[in-house]
Symmetry: C2
């Protein structure tokens, strides 16, 4: 992690530019040339620091996955009841119309075809589901959530609602359906005691 004032090395600039382009255009849609231009680096410079497009993408994907994992842990490991933490995670501010920088990679055929590129995506989404399942289990133990629920299933539903919410938002060019999907999920999860 670089402090705000510190200027980035060429290698850092290449990784950051790649992260932006992967988010915006995916792996297939991102060319080394575009990365070099965005990073202000020459062709030879990029190939000096990285073996090629897949190698650079791997560095970028790993960093993006790491950031996503840390952000999730910060919210799900915070204070409050199980429901409160899940709500905090669902309502966390997101650049909805850009989609999820990790989840969008699953629609990229080249990422899915290369196990080393898919691995960080699988790992961070798996960790997220496990963390959410633990929170749901807490909620069940405390009697806060209704009982006949499988924590792993609810965790998958929560992550899927977010990932699918991005799809609906981008389809409509509006974040409204993302917010609707989240509110619908929260209504279904809401502790019965709190309901009218």
């Amino acid at each position: 992690m670089y402090s705000a004032g510190m200027s980035m090395s060429t290698s850092e600039r290449l990784i950051e530019a790649t992260r932006e382009l992967l988010w915006e255009r995916g792996y297939v849609g991102t060319s080394p040339k575009a990365v070099q231009q965005a990073a202000g680096a020459g062709q030879g410079s990029m190939y000096h620091h990285f073996a090629g497009k897949p190698d650079l993408a791997l560095a970028a994907i790993r960093r993006t996955a790491e950031e996503m994992g840390a952000a999730a842990e910060a919210l799900l490991g915070g204070e409050g009841s199980a429901y409160d933490r899940i709500e905090a995670y669902l309502l966390h501010e997101r650049d909805v119309l850009r989609g999820c920088p990790v989840g969008r990679l699953t629609m990229d055929p080249e990422v899915i075809a290369r196990p080393e590129l898919r691995a960080p995506v699988e790992e961070v989404l798996g960790r997220l589901r496990a963390r959410l399942a633990a929170v749901v289990q807490e909620g069940l133990d405390e009697g806060e959530l209704n009982c006949p629920l499988d924590p792993a299933e609810i965790a998958a539903t929560v992550v899927a609602t977010l990932q699918g919410g991005y799809v609906l938002a981008r389809a409509t060019d509006s974040r409204a359906p993302f917010d609707s999907a989240v509110r619908g999920l929260l209504a279904l999860l809401a502790p019965r005691a709190a309901q009218g």
Copy 2:
């Protein structure tokens, strides 16, 4: 719609090949050359029938969206209670690891950038949400679903769970998390009377 035994015209073969490639590789990852080879057509032949790549993609996307809309209507307009129809829709057989041929287009920057290509995607997903909302409303009217639910929100949650389920499945190269997400949602939706 062509009957099984009828051989397809070149134009039809181009559209069908494009549909497959858009599903597999997206718009950015699909080249006219790949389409021509898959369709067994020459370059000139493709440009005779279609103005170019966007025009051909539009024909393919429209047809895919139409099929998806018809399949959803067949399930949601069928027999049974509101919950039964939603369950039937969620459990409908799908080629999960391939993802949704419509939803995956929302991660394609060129599709989102071209209003004419995004329009059929927005339209069919909007129609699906509206149809689901109507079914949820029926369930509320019948007292079958729990009351403080907003039909439009639940509809968004249902569609998002499916779309996000594809993301989880492709991330893990396994349909298991898709099925988990769906089961979790069904557990949350389940009429209270039916629960232990």
